[in-house]
Symmetry: C4
Subunit: 387 residues, 4 copies
């Protein structure tokens, strides 16, 4: 029984995102540092002018990193029974676990360690496997995972764009081969050779090592380059659109969590809440930065998700904290800012644009009542102060 | 009578998209392979260092491919009476059929066969017609057809962008000609020559074979390059926007068909259904991939269009199949995922983002009732299990 | 009185867009041809290897074109009283008319004519003014005018992007100058010289005539290029967005006019009509093209704005004309296309996507009734035919 | 007491955006001119062929500019008590003020002055600090500040894109190093050297100073360039989207202020007003430009925020001013423009597209009544005139 719970504890530490306690965070930090150090070491090891002493240090550190990765890999195999997919009675077992992409990547990262001990002269292989370790970061960064998701989401249009691009490259390379293979046999002497020129031209890199030299070739190149604009536009548009949609989805989830900390929104029904969250933008302010400046146009109001801000009134200051809001006086009264507001600690604010404030209040009278009441109180307080 | 029905059968086999039975699919697959092999052979045949034996093999295979294309072309002409446009009593007949773009392309693909037999030394012509066969794929891929549709949809703005680009190129080439035609007469000695420099510069290819060498020419080049950014932006934006709109339209149709397999949506009226479909995204999961991981944020719910998934509960697992849904507990309860879900077979899922779930349920109480009931049952079942 | 009406007639002919009768169209066509011929002649005249006979021909044609432009300019001045701005009792008169941008451009186009007669050796000036004639096309093409409108609309963000770009170029040039002005004094010996390198690099042209040669310079170049991506993104995004918005506005107006020809939409109130127009896309089909193919998915329905289409039924065909609609059976019944439809003449169709059909019908019961009735009739008719 | 109010006055003059009276505007203009002159002087001072007399002039002007910046810096420190953040009883004082980014930048701008007096041979340092003065413009231009805001808003996706880009560069550089480090040891002899090639290739600059020379290297380069398209798309899309959103937000605020000057919109409730403002576009017309031409399509109506326009009727003209509107006759009557309208003074107009006019009127009957009444009057007036 004890060994099972120890295995559970190890699993929680080495698997990111299960539990975020001290040891798990420490392990994550150390792992990322070792991955980066190991990749940096591999990059440096290719410098021909490297000092032999430093090269020896790299060799030693590689052995240490290798031991670390070996231990981690062993721990992952050992904790397979805790894994939701491969563990349990109906799980697929250790072998299936070893064949998942991330575990294969981990295993690949072990290759340099054994090669260094056994065949240290296989430098190219060692280097490739060392550099591949960079992608172990995928375990810790959702960014790389997002890209994978976008590519799998947009598979069909990307294939279509690829087919069009392939056709364009084929026609370009064939045309150039026919036009110039006799005057430049060493550079454009076959369609595969002309294909290199076509790719370099179509993606607008344009090294200049293969260029047209006949007038006809130059005219043809002009049309190929204009056609390249089209080819260039499609994958860029597809991936950019897909990526931004993924980012927007993640932002929604993050803001959704923050809204729960603002009492003014308590009791909103589902549809209103979902609409509100899609209108809010999260912004972070470091300590002692001005959020609102007296006299500016009132372009948005703010809800405090965390941190602390200070409203500077003529003769006094007011501190606002998590769950409070401010900036509604200028927005609702359509006047300029009546006070300066400063972040006193690192503060996460939810910003609602002026246009959205009025629209949203119109459709949600309960929220409107809360905001208007707060505004009335504050305007009165200020009048008393200035009186 | 028999011959008519034989012709009908041949027509169904060789015309893509009429019937998708075994023979039609086989014919489609073989056609695509032969097109690709024929183009690849043409590309290889230009390699000067090619082994004579392999070159002879290419020659023989070209003859075989040519016979295949010849037979296909003859079959298409023979089946003209079955064609909806050119067949029938009021149809335009075989000649009109031969003049359609796709049939002209097919006829062009026959040229290499006859030339190889009659004038094998006309290599350039043979090569051009061989490469053109790549575009026969348009018959089998809707992607190439989509591009044509986008170009015809966006004809007017593209013409406008072209006119602007032409003006920019004219002014750039004239300016450069006037500034440097005396110092670089061999490279910029006429406006047509300077036009080559202008195109290479404006589309940001920048080979470097023609560059300004006077200070004034360098200043002028700076402005031309900045102007090129504008020219570059327009066609890219137009085509990218048009293409994405076409893709979105096709996705709508595909998802529209899938929704019919989900009982929870049965009985939705037209407007609600159309809105729902535009909110859903289709995603495919290979076997044994994790769809939801216990403890993650609940950012969306899933409907199974095809395949099978497994919900991993502490002491048991539940299998869900076509028409079922899952992931609603975390979304509606605004809590973290309470169970891991794994795709057991290749599964097509329809994903509905959390924001859209709450909005859509608010407007469609009947769907909301179905989902809430299912959720209540599941939460209860889990409580029983953990109790 | 007679001379006034003659002036009016001349004004209607030479001013595009006033009246579109035969003479006005002829004048427009001839003007565009002469502009293009004159610019092409100017481009050709710079070819050093030009045949003297052809050069003489260019000289003569330039004199003819010059006379034409002179006559047109005189006619425009003469018809000033008919101009809505400069004519009339309260108008600003001929002088103000001469100072408008288009008239200044016209006057500039006259310079080559007089220079050729007086100082034929001033070749550079003659050439510049000849090339500027290209922009006379702005009178006939709304495209060039649209670009001007976009630039004036987006003036503020473009200035902002320009300021940021300037800062980036300054820092890049200064850094490169400091790093490499001693090793490459002839290429990077001053900040203005380094600025040429910076522009060529930042807009990703990359001629390669000035490149970093020190390791530090290469590192610095890497950061400059990544910074260039940002600079590149801003003006592209601003202009592309603005241009697409202008295009969409024009499309709305064009479709708005077409909708009036469809009886099914008669009597829609303003808001419904505006919404409908923004949903419709106009598409043109040449004669004898398939619009719908039997058995395809029903992804949209069509309204005929002009032209004629033929619905191919098993034993008969139906002709539909301006104001008719088709394709609603598959969309509303959620089935595959039940008949093939072919354009018999050049036809302008208004396309409504399936998603929009159901949404729009839900909100406009009167249109829904018209469409459903038509559908019922057609389905019945087909049943009778097949029975 | 007098000294306090003098300090207040100085603060109002030197701090942009507090008060916009004559002295403050003068100070702002002079500051911008001196910043630009100082940067231009620094750029010129690097020209090796510079005339010694002009160089001396630059030296003297640098001393004058330095004194100006010194005075301004001193004034800013002196007026710290007036600063909303650092002044007041609870403020953080002068030292905290000195450590804000803008003040550090100001202090950096003083370095050249002291270095020129003390160590005039430290030319590189002097130059760097002189060029940095360009960013003092951030105080006067909201554009540079907007970029900062966009970068801070989009921090997370940019980091993600950066990580992906880094992985791509690593793999590209390693691959190229392994393939070609033996044939091009001086150019691709280490991974850091290959990294330079990778960056130049991936951002499509393509200098051509390092290019693949082996067939395998050329194939690999093809894939790297296609991968570069993806890397290129992400940061461009992220920044462009973020920037456009910021611009739209600012436009909303500007238009919001203008709408208050149009009586027809008085009394609209918050939600309707916010919707209206998001539909309006502000456009500026210089004097004597045609806004509407008789006979054109009626694509939008106009509200005058400032300036004066003239409606040209057959026998008379009408002058319209701030608060008036025009163009509604063609839009609401769905006819062509019935009169030409000309801007007589520089006029700021709020444009509402035809589609939005009908939609907005449908939802706001009060505005509709005002517009229809005005239209009825005008049509009647014209009938009387033409009768």
């Amino acid at each position: 029984m004890a060994s099972v719970s120890a295995r559970r504890r190890v699993y929680e530490i080495i698997e990111p995102g299960i539990k975020r306690d001290g040891l798990a965070r420490l392990f994550e930090g150390v792992s990322i540092l070792i991955i980066l150090a190991s990749v940096a070491g591999a990059v440096c090891s290719t410098l021909p002018e490297l000092d032999p002493g430093f090269r020896h240090l790299l060799y030693l550190s590689e052995l240490v990193f290798g031991l670390f990765f070996l231990g981690e890999y062993a721990a992952r195999l050992w904790t397979t029974p805790e894994h939701p997919v491969f563990g349990g009675e109906k799980g697929h077992g250790v072998l299936a676990h070893m064949l998942t992409p991330l575990m294969v990547l981990d295993a690949a990262g072990l290759v340099p360690f054994f090669l260094l001990l056994a065949y240290p002269e296989a430098q190219a292989f060692i280097l490739i496997y060392q550099i591949l370790r960079f992608f172990r970061l995928a375990r810790y960064s959702p960014a790389l995972a997002t890209v994978g998701r976008v590519l799998s989401n947009e598979w069909r249009p990307l294939m279509a764009a690829g087919l069009i691009g392939m056709g364009l490259l084929l026609v370009s390379a064939t045309g150039m081969y026919l036009i110039e293979h006799e005057v430049q046999p060493e550079r454009l002497g076959s369609i595969p050779a002309a294909m290199y020129w076509a790719v370099v031209t179509v993606v607008t890199v344009g090294y200049g090592d293969v260029v047209p030299i006949t007038p006809l070739g130059k005219h043809f190149t002009g049309f190929v380059m204009l056609g390249g604009l089209i080819f260039f536009a499609l994958p860029v548009a597809i991936i950019a659109t897909g990526f931004l949609a993924e980012i927007r989805r993640r932002d929604f989830i993050v803001n959704y969590g923050m809204v729960a900390r603002v009492p003014a929104f308590a009791g909103l029904d589902g549809a209103a809440l979902a609409e509100l969250v899609s209108l809010l933008r999260a912004r972070k302010f470091p300590p002692d930065t001005i959020i609102i400046r007296k006299g500016d146009e009132g372009d948005s109001m703010y809800f405090i998700a965390s941190g602390e801000v200070e409203v500077v009134l003529p003769n006094s200051t007011i501190r606002l904290q998590e769950g409070d809001f401010f900036g509604e006086v200028a927005v609702l009264g359509r006047i300029r800012r009546t006070a300066t507001v400063i972040a006193r600690r690192t503060s996460e604010l939810l910003v609602l644009d002026a246009a959205d404030v009025v629209k949203f209040m119109d459709q949600n009278p309960r929220v409107a009542a809360v905001l208007r009441e707060a505004m009335a109180e504050r305007v009165m307080a200020q009048d008393v102060v200035s009186a």
